[in-house]
């Protein structure tokens, strides 16, 4: 008889069940709806700013000014911009989060879906101060989640020693490139990362291509337009560039920059991030907006960064005011002077500080024509297939029509899987 050995075990079981049944937190069901009534003036607001040293210094300077003006202390914490969401996800609910956050606008969709940021309430006058495209970038499903501080777009850099004036139209530009390209001597008329959709987008737009169909200010992710008539035309245009050996296959930004700095390339398409590098190389260059294509201004991608209101902010109103201060004309001007970031503020584009710098003016002008990258998470499913398709086109592995059809099919599948 082994019963006496099993008896203690049985008692353990009974105890365990008893303990487990009583588990769980005790809390009031309406604990969540505690916040009501008027918000008090906070003692301190917290900003998570990008860790980049110039940017951080500029933000701190502005924060100090606001403190003097309003009497509210503003604490600025440097963070890696791309990791802010992960950190906010844990710190926010724990009550350690900031009031304001920032990251590239194309990640706004994710942040809204996971509940990290909330819409802001500002008057239409405030909104109207900024370029339309930058406001659109910060709007998700019809609601505005912050105000913009920087906008970025690509433009045309040209080597003044090789070409005095950049061509006025894309067609002329391609003609010029055909006449002035000699791959064997590493001499090129026009170079850019042609296998990267980011740089090719303006071609798609020029002929009527689009990523997602826009309906009532929202993207319809069921309707992908990257294989419509216009897109295919753009595909053929890109194919031509490679077929005629105007651009070498598989070229990356590093090589583009290297050749341009050596003075071997008449024109490159690149963003403001290349400015300091090119200046350092002592190339005699100018910057112009992209040439007109198909008779219209080129609509390239623009990227926007703004200040957004954290969903965990306990001082919604005060934080919204801080956002307005941080993106006011004066603040953005001071920021431009410290960091060179191009402000999307309408008044500032006409301001002498910006107007007098031709490079910045070109970027600002080009940004005005641009389309913000879609800020919905489905965009994440677009990049790889479309970039692959562009690589196939460039390398002659697939015809544009087939490549783009395949890419769209894959994009649709991936979006479906993401929501599964």
């Amino acid at each position: 008889m082994k019963w006496n050995k099993w008896l203690p075990m049985a008692m353990v079981l009974v105890l365990a069940v008893g303990v487990l049944a009583a588990c769980g937190p005790q809390r009031d069901a309406d604990q969540t709806q505690k916040e009501a009534g008027k918000e008090e003036k906070p003692k301190e607001l917290v900003i998570w700013a990008n860790k980049d040293s110039d940017e951080l210094a500029s933000t701190k300077k502005l924060a100090k000014r606001y403190q003097e003006k309003s009497g509210i202390k503003v604490k600025v914490v440097g963070q890696d911009m791309l990791k802010m969401q992960d950190k906010l996800n844990l710190d926010g609910p724990a009550g350690k989060g900031p009031d304001l956050v920032t990251w590239p606008h194309d990640r706004i969709g994710e942040a809204v879906i996971t509940g990290l940021i909330q819409p802001i309430e500002v008057s239409q006058d405030v909104v109207d101060q900024y370029s339309e495209s930058s406001i659109k970038a910060l709007t998700y499903k019809g609601k505005l989640y912050g105000l913009p501080k920087v906008t970025e777009s690509i433009a045309l850099y040209y080597n003044k020693d090789l070409i005095k004036e950049p061509p006025k139209t894309w067609e002329e530009l391609v003609e010029y490139a055909k006449e002035n390209t000699e791959p064997s001597q590493k001499k090129y008329g026009l170079l850019f990362e042609g296998e990267n959709f980011y740089y090719d987008y303006f071609l798609f737009r020029a002929y009527g291509g689009y990523i997602f169909k826009e309906e009532n200010g929202k993207f319809n992710t069921q309707k992908v337009g990257l294989n419509n008539e216009g897109s295919k035309k753009a595909g053929i245009e890109i194919e031509e560039l490679y077929k005629n050996k105007l651009i070498p296959k598989g070229i990356k930004a590093d090589t583009v920059n290297g050749l341009f700095k050596e003075g071997k390339v008449a024109m490159v398409i690149n963003g403001p991030w290349a400015l300091s590098d090119y200046r350092g190389a002592k190339v005699n260059f100018g910057v112009a907006p992209l040439p007109k294509i198909n008779g219209e201004n080129a609509q390239a991608f623009i990227g926007v960064k703004g200040w957004y209101l954290s969903n965990f902010s306990k001082h919604k109103e005060a934080a919204t005011e801080l956002i307005q201060f941080m993106t006011s004309k004066e603040s953005l001007k001071s920021r431009y002077q410290d960091t060179g970031d191009i402000p999307p503020h309408k008044d500032l584009i006409e301001d002498p500080v910006i107007k007098e710098d031709p490079a910045v003016k070109a970027f600002a002008e080009q940004a005005g024509y641009g389309n913000p990258m879609p800020n919905i998470p489905e965009m994440g499913q677009v990049w790889e297939p479309i970039n692959n398709a562009l690589a196939f086109i460039a390398q002659g592995k697939q015809k544009p029509e087939k490549a783009l059809d395949d890419a769209v099919k894959l994009i649709e599948e991936k979006i479906k899987a993401q929501k599964q």
Partner: protein, 436 residues
Amino acid sequence: MVDSQVETASKPDRPWGKPQIAACLSVLSMGLGQLYNRQWAKGVFFLLIQFSYLGVFFDFLNIGLWGIVTLGTIPKLDHSILLLAQGIISLLIIALGLVFYFLNIRDAYKVGKIRERGEEPPGIKETYQTVTGYGYPYLLVAPGLFLLIAVVVFPLLFMIFLAFTNYDLYHSPPAKLVDWVGFDNFFNLFRSELWQNSFISVFQWTVVFTLVSTTVQFGLGLFLAILIHQKRVRFKKFWRTVLILPWAVPAFVSILVFTSLFDNTFGPINAMLTSLGLGGVPWMTDPFWTKIAILLIQFWLGFPFSMALCTGVLQGISSDLYEAAEVDGATPFQKFRSITLPLVLYATAPVLITQYAFNFNNFNIIYLFNEGGPPIPGSTAGGTDILISWVYKLTFDSFKYNYAAAVTIIIALVVMSISVYQFRRTRSFKEEDLIQ
């Protein structure tokens, strides 16, 4: 159960012995059985341990167990992922508590037995000596084990649990709660076209990459070790020093440098081939050549370790064996076949197995060299994607953490079972236990 208790309790000829009473008391609360056994200090100590355990952990375990079952009930307030983590930690803490709890019951029972035989239970001093003597290895292992549980077991459990949830972008805290979904992820994976379309080719390349890279890097290492080990070769130290250098350079630096060396248009390797009149090779854009490049790089990265290892083994092989073979007129190749190779393989098998497993999941080289590319028309995987990099692409880009976890488990099960099978064939398991 209750019936049998009543029944047996009524039998006078089967009285409750001291061991049973002590054990049952210990079940009710740690230390009671020891007190009953008249081990006062031990009993009080156990009681204290139990109460401090409960005092410290009660709230944590309370929320943790509730959390892992429900994953939260109110969105925004409950963070499902944190609750899951807390739940797993609770389970680990409870497991630890149970170990002590059962040791306590067993101790009460055993000491009860001693008392039943009419002997004195061990006193404080004897107990202390048993613990420090018998328990010494446990004390040695404890800190390491604790860290291992945190660093290896916890993440493993976390991933396993995640595979049974719907944790993705649209079910993500703090906005939403995560729910348990059973085996749905596994079923959906097999149904999804995205996964079916390239699985076979990715799997084949993964296997080829694993086998070829590991075998060749080991073979090359062994070969070089043997070359340098020859008596007549001079400057041994120089050769060994230089050839070990790839190991000393951070791997990610080397891989990124190779990326530029293999550049199609401007890389020096193609420049060299062109000047030799061979023409450039599409290293980065042709899947076949990218695979070759990746294998070559992995050989470069991997051979020094094997060389160092084999050098040591070779130095340990007695020269008598070779002399005997020479007397028998063996050729160098025969000596290698029947003496060197078996001895080296025998000695290094377990390390070799871990190297195979490592390369099977060698995400870094694939990702850093060409991000799994070049792309292949009509495939979700790039030309050089191995399973792990492919999974990463398909899941992390789209925030499908649940799928990522599910696929990882499948991959891990395959690798682990093969490794266990291989390990069991090595001598580590066959060895007689030499410790008394």
